[in-house]
């Protein structure tokens, strides 16, 4: 059971309680969810093989629509319907109960059909099914045990019903109950009979018959959502307004310590198939990005860092505002050039890039008393956090920069360039944003890396990408004279290509490094 509301949740830390939390109904499914069968992940899935050649660390996937997800379910249902010779609605309930594991269901059904039906909350074949309802004669009047309404023996057949378990209630109470389960509790596949401790499942046909159209639509959406949630090879696109589902068969949970399965949805946005992250968190592993974000959210120092987007010039103390993503700052007043991140002089950055990305671990090692040690560890954290947050913020500023870019593209068109010739500007902004996001997560990674030779290669790749990004960023913010427009275009195009190349080098090194087990972390992954 998970919760959205921590404060109102009662959790017991004691392990003894752990087994009972999920209840009997959920436990079997949870087990098969967390330990999927190895054969469930066929790396060379025959249905997904028509995509272009990929890097070894890229995953193959397909973007599905809700209709396709429904068709998938129907195909499985039809298969079981034909194999076991049972009604399709029964097949659907059995499949849901077995978390869509068709093999396990068949095995159970061939061993003991009666018990398999009962376990899934269905009536055994011998008892009357509500689908093929035959008019039976009722010889006694009936009082609904819920609302206490009386029904004459003539009314019983039309106004009350039972699901074959012997628990009879009036249709009004059934409707009220099922509506509440769907509307208030978001339940679908596990709505049970109202009888005390009765596990009989309410069939979709009954839901459709009893509840109003809007709710029955919601019910079917919930069934769909449950299908996706139950399937290890499916994941909803997490971006708002998008209803696509990603299908991928290559990412069992145990692979997530060596794979960052970034995929691109048809809505144009990235997500992580491994953890559902609404973005591209490469190069860092799912588990680490989660740890890092939790640390940032918990840490009060983090909040302190998120100061206003203004700083003072280290020379003349006049206030400087940052309005683009570029870290190369020039004080309007005294013309002093410095780095926004470390506040050091920019002259040290241009030629031989300073170690702005690497934390000097020495001060931590030298610290003798615990207080100094904890201060050193805080400083170390803030070092990486500052760089992480700065890229995050810069990427956002660059996105705002789009509008300015559009205007400049229009201006260039009046200066003799065609629209297509100005597109390089927008491409450059795209490249910068993508690279900043990579850099951002690379600092989360760096925080958890154990220092060794491989880490040094990683940091030098980080440095090179930092420098490439800053150069391009700076170039983009410079307003060129009209006569050097073509030269500027060439420069920006070249710088963009270089940023892309540096970004690929960093990602390639890290992602292949996972396969080779090259990265050692200070935490277990």
């Amino acid at each position: 059971m998970s919760s959205d509301d921590e404060a109102n949740d009662i959790y017991y830390d004691d392990d003894d309680y752990g087994d009972d939390f999920d209840g009997q109904a959920g436990s079997a499914e949870d087990e098969s969810m967390s330990e999927p069968d190895a054969e469930g992940y066929d790396v060379l899935s025959p249905s997904i093989d028509d995509l272009p050649q990929k890097k070894p660390y890229d995953v193959t996937y397909k973007v599905r629509t809700v209709q396709e997800i429904m068709d998938m379910q129907n195909r499985e249902v039809q298969k079981i319907h034909a194999l076991l010779d049972i009604p399709t609605s029964t097949a659907a309930i059995l499949l849901r109960h077995h978390v869509w594991n068709s093999e396990k269901l068949q095995e159970a059904y061939f061993t003991d059909p009666e018990q398999t039906l009962l376990d899934a909350g269905l009536s055994p074949p011998s008892s009357p099914s509500p689908v093929k309802r035959t008019r039976s004669q009722h010889t006694v009047p009936f009082e609904c045990p819920i609302c206490c309404m009386d029904f004459t023996k003539e009314q019983v057949e039309d106004l009350t019903l039972t699901m074959g378990c012997g628990h009879r209630f009036c249709r009004t109470c059934w409707t009220e109950y099922i509506s509440g389960k769907i509307r208030d509790e978001g339940e679908s596949a596990r709505i049970q009979c109202m009888g005390e401790a009765c596990k009989r499942i309410v069939r979709p046909e009954l839901v459709d018959e009893l509840v109003p159209g809007e709710l029955s639509k919601k019910y079917h959406n919930l069934l769909n959502a449950a299908y996706v949630a139950d399937s290890p090879s499916l994941r909803w696109c997490p971006h708002p307004g998008c209803e696509h589902v990603i299908e991928c068969h290559q990412v069992p949970p145990r692979m997530l310590n060596q794979l960052v399965p970034t995929v691109k949805c048809d809505c144009g946005r990235f997500l992580c198939f491994g953890c559902g992250y609404a973005g591209n968190h490469r190069p860092v592993l799912c588990k680490i990005v989660k740890m890092w974000e939790k640390k940032c959210a918990d840490d009060s120092e983090t909040a302190n860092w998120l100061q206003a987007n203004t700083k003072e010039c280290t020379k003349c103390q006049s206030t400087i505002e940052k309005n683009g993503g570029c870290n190369h700052m020039t004080c309007k007043k005294c013309k002093w050039e410095f780095c926004w991140v470390c506040m050091g002089p920019w002259s040290e950055h241009g030629t031989s890039w300073y170690q702005c990305n690497r934390f000097d671990e020495k001060s931590g090692i030298d610290a003798r008393d615990t207080q100094a040690k904890s201060r050193a560890s805080l400083e170390r954290y803030l070092h990486y956090f500052t760089r992480y947050a700065n890229h995050d913020q810069s990427a956002k500023l660059d996105a705002v920069f789009y509008t300015t870019t559009e205007n400049r593209m229009k201006a260039m068109q009046t200066q003799g360039l065609s629209w297509i010739e100005t597109v390089f500007m927008r491409n450059a902004v795209d490249t910068i944003i993508a690279a900043r996001i990579t850099l951002k997560y690379s600092y989360a990674m760096a925080f958890y890396l154990v220092r060794n030779n491989d880490t040094e290669i990683f940091e030098s790749n980080q440095t090179d990408l930092e420098m490439a990004v800053e150069n391009l960023s700076h170039q983009l913010e410079t307003n060129p004279e009209p006569d050097i427009l073509m030269k500027m275009k060439q420069d920006i195009t070249n710088l963009s290509a270089y940023v892309k190349k540096r970004s690929d080098i960093l990602l390639d090194d890290v992602l292949t490094g996972y396969f080779e087990g090259r990265w050692k972390f200070t935490v277990t992954v």
Binding site: M1, N8, G180
Partner: protein, 157 residues
């Protein structure tokens, strides 16, 4: 606020209590309207650690009772000399962690059935202690226990 559904059902339950009475140790203290009822519960016999104690159980009914479970809490009440029982499933603010009041509620259950369950929950207890994390829970708890998502730790209640 009880609607047609709740009030008809409650009237029926009330009539039944008046004609047949309540089980031993359970008394209806007040049922002035169809919104809040108060029962007293005692654990009978010499075996119990609650010998001689009286507890007051308050039930608040929503319009969807009995499709929805009522809001059930133990209350301290001087008139009836009632205290909140010290029990591993009863928080000191009167909230009760019992699956019958949550995901195992069935609309065929009624007030007396709730009382009987609470009585047997008390009767089976051997050690007077508050739930783990009582203080933390009481500090943050919503006034309505139904807004708490309980994680039931045993199947006996």
């Amino acid at each position: 606020m009880a609607t047609g559904l709740a009030s008809k059902r409650l009237m029926k339950e009330l009539a039944e209590i008046k004609s047949k009475g309540t089980p031993p140790g359970i008394t209806l203290l007040s049922a002035e309207d169809m919104q809040v009822w108060l029962f007293s519960i005692q654990v009978l016999g010499d075996e119990t650690i609650y010998k001689g104690e009286t507890f007051a159980l308050k039930m608040k009914f929503g319009p969807r009772y009995p499709i929805e479970c009522p809001e059930v809490t133990f209350v301290a009440d001087q008139t009836y000399n009632a205290v909140i029982p010290i029990h591993p499933h009863c928080y000191s603010n009167g909230h009760i962690c019992a699956s019958i009041l949550g995901n195992e509620w069935s609309p065929v259950l009624n007030c007396v059935a709730i009382c009987i369950t609470m009585q047997s929950m008390l009767a089976s207890n051997k050690k007077k202690e508050r739930p783990q994390g009582n203080d933390r829970y009481v500090r943050n708890a919503p006034s309505n226990p139904k807004l708490t998502r309980w994680h039931y730790d045993d199947d006996t209640v």
